[in-house]
Amino acid sequence: MSDQRQPSVASPVQTTAPFIEMRGVNKWFGQFHALKDIDLDIARGAKFVICGPSGSGKSTLIRCLNRLEEHDEGRIVVDGTVLNEDTHHIAAVRREVGMVFQQFNLFPHLTVLENCVLAQVRARKTPRRDAEERAMSYLERVRIPEQASKFPGQLSGGQQQRVAIARSLCMEPKVMLFDEPTSALDPEMIKEVLDVMGDLATSGMTMICVTHEMGFARKVADTMVFMDRGRIVEAAPPATFFSQPRSDRTRLFLSQILSH
């Protein structure tokens, strides 16, 4: 099928310089080649959904964007800041990039409100009162203001994940990364999290989501990225991605996850 080795990806709403730029990014875990020559441009306001079989490098890719993983080769630029060893650069990028994890990773020893306040006060130097106010407004946005004084362990998985989203939003990031945000949830709770993510997309947030929720992807994504064995195999708007995938590998993957 497609003999194009590495499709260059551009978001449809591209305006000026891309908000996030990855050029020739390679990453190894020991001998394992996890990311292979990744080139990716993501414009401000774009909604990317990354899918692919497990071990294909989806999570590694987005974890490189806020340097939870260090890439070994290539260049990653986020909003004009080059990601390298420079801790100031890393800090600058992390201030702009919010992240939501599969396991929520809320701080279990802090209340929901404190989870949302801590980084604002420590990293952004926001006065506590303003921080609490902002925390409450985002908790309202994810529809759980009434849980503010509880500890994460007292909440359901779906509620915890919504708190995690609110916690990230409190830092007013310019882009949100989602690393399989619904994979650890009971089926009944997936919808409430996806609804919140849908709202967020509507508000214009730049989003990069690793997820297997293809219904969500169809509705929200403007670009679908398919990865396999560390490579970007295909990237296309969802309409063409789902109806006319160019590569056999993509077609096989889609047939497997959409067959039931």
């Binding site: 806020n66 939870l68 800090a91 992390r94 201030r95 990039v97 919010g98 992240m99 994890f101 396991q103 990773n105 809320l106 701080f107 279990p108 020893h109 801590l118 980084a119 420590r122 990293a123 952004r124 500890f151 994460p152 362990g153 007292q154 916690r167 990230s168 830092m171």
Partner: protein
């Protein structure tokens, strides 16, 4: 044609659990109890019949408190003075060895190779020497070289009344301050190595995901440690810390070897002057037991509180 699916929602009710079955003694329990009583009884009988010893507890009491010959006021005598020194060694020792433990434990988990090496060297060196040997080495080669250079006694003599009062609360008799500080440092340096291992294990017990969450929110490394890792690590460290601090109280008796005048040291004095070796030994053992037992109850309480704090 299939009928439409209807779900009948029953009234949800909950009721209290059935009453608990009363405890009763099984034959195995009875055998165990009998064995325990026999053992204790046998040892008691042997000591009573074979060991021909006249117990005399009354000669201990004068060594608890004494009357000042001039003013007639009650003052602590050897045993109480020793106990107070042991208490001060224990409390200050926990603080100082805790600080050493935090610093070395953090060095052991640092990303910098040099810090890790220094931390490991400290722990390995101290953990692999017997405590008694360490006490002597510390006393002769480190303390007796450094303490005179510090000139602690002179500084204390020249200090203002407020500082002198504070110090006397902390270390007791100011004339013996060098003696006390040597004992305290010896104990803390030694115990700090063990606390460091507990701190390291505690830090490493906190999930990597927690650190990633902190990182991704833009918290600095120090803030991640202080607000995310340490509160959770402390909770995991409590049981091990309890053991170690109890160990510290007991180890404080070792510094009597280098004439630090704490409880065991004073007890030997009392043994010599009263010739009542067994009574003094048992009495002092009882005091140590009470100290350590209270501490372990305190830590049990702390653990319960920490468990309630979340979840």
């Amino acid at each position: 044609m299939t009928p439409p699916l209807t779900v009948k929602i029953e009234t949800v009710y909950s009721r209290s659990p059935p009453p608990r079955k009363p405890l009763h003694l099984t034959p195995a329990d009875a055998v165990l109890l009998a064995l325990a009583f026999t053992c204790v009884g046998y040892v008691g009988w042997r000591t009573h019949t074979v060991l021909d010893y006249r117990w005399d507890w009354s000669s201990i009491w004068p060594f608890l408190l004494k009357r000042d010959p001039v003013t007639g006021e009650l003052q602590p005598n050897l045993i109480i003075t020793g106990l107070l020194t042991t208490l001060r060694l224990a409390v200050l020792g926990m603080i100082v060895s805790g600080l050493i433990g935090i610093v070395i434990g953090m060095a052991r988990t640092s990303r910098r190779l040099l810090l890790r090496l220094i931390g490991s060297a400290y722990v390995m060196l101290i953990r692999n020497i017997p405590p008694v040997v360490f006490v002597f080495i510390f006393y002769f080669f480190i303390a007796s070289q450094i303490m005179p250079a510090l000139g602690l006694s002179e500084r204390v003599r020249d200090a203002g009344p407020l500082i002198r009062w504070l110090l006397s609360v902390l270390v007791g008799d100011l004339k013996l301050i060098e003696n006390f500080v040597i004992g305290l440092l010896c104990l803390s340096v030694f115990n700090g190595a063990y606390v460091a291992e507990i701190v390291r294990a505690g830090i490493q017990s906190v999930s990597r995901h927690q650190i990633e969450a902190g990182d991704s929110l833009g918290l600095s490394r120090g803030d991640v440690l202080r607000f995310v890792v340490f509160p959770q690590a402390t909770r995991n460290m409590l049981p091990a810390l309890a053991s170690q601090f109890i160990q510290l109280i007991k180890d404080s008796s070792l510094v009597s070897l280098v004439s630090i005048q704490e409880l065991s040291f004073m007890a030997q004095d009392v043994q010599v002057s009263t010739q009542r070796v067994f009574e003094v030994l048992i009495f002092v053992a009882g005091i140590y037991f009470l100290l350590c037992f209270s501490l372990s109850r305190l830590f049990e309480w702390l653990e319960r509180r920490a468990a309630l704090a979340y979840r």
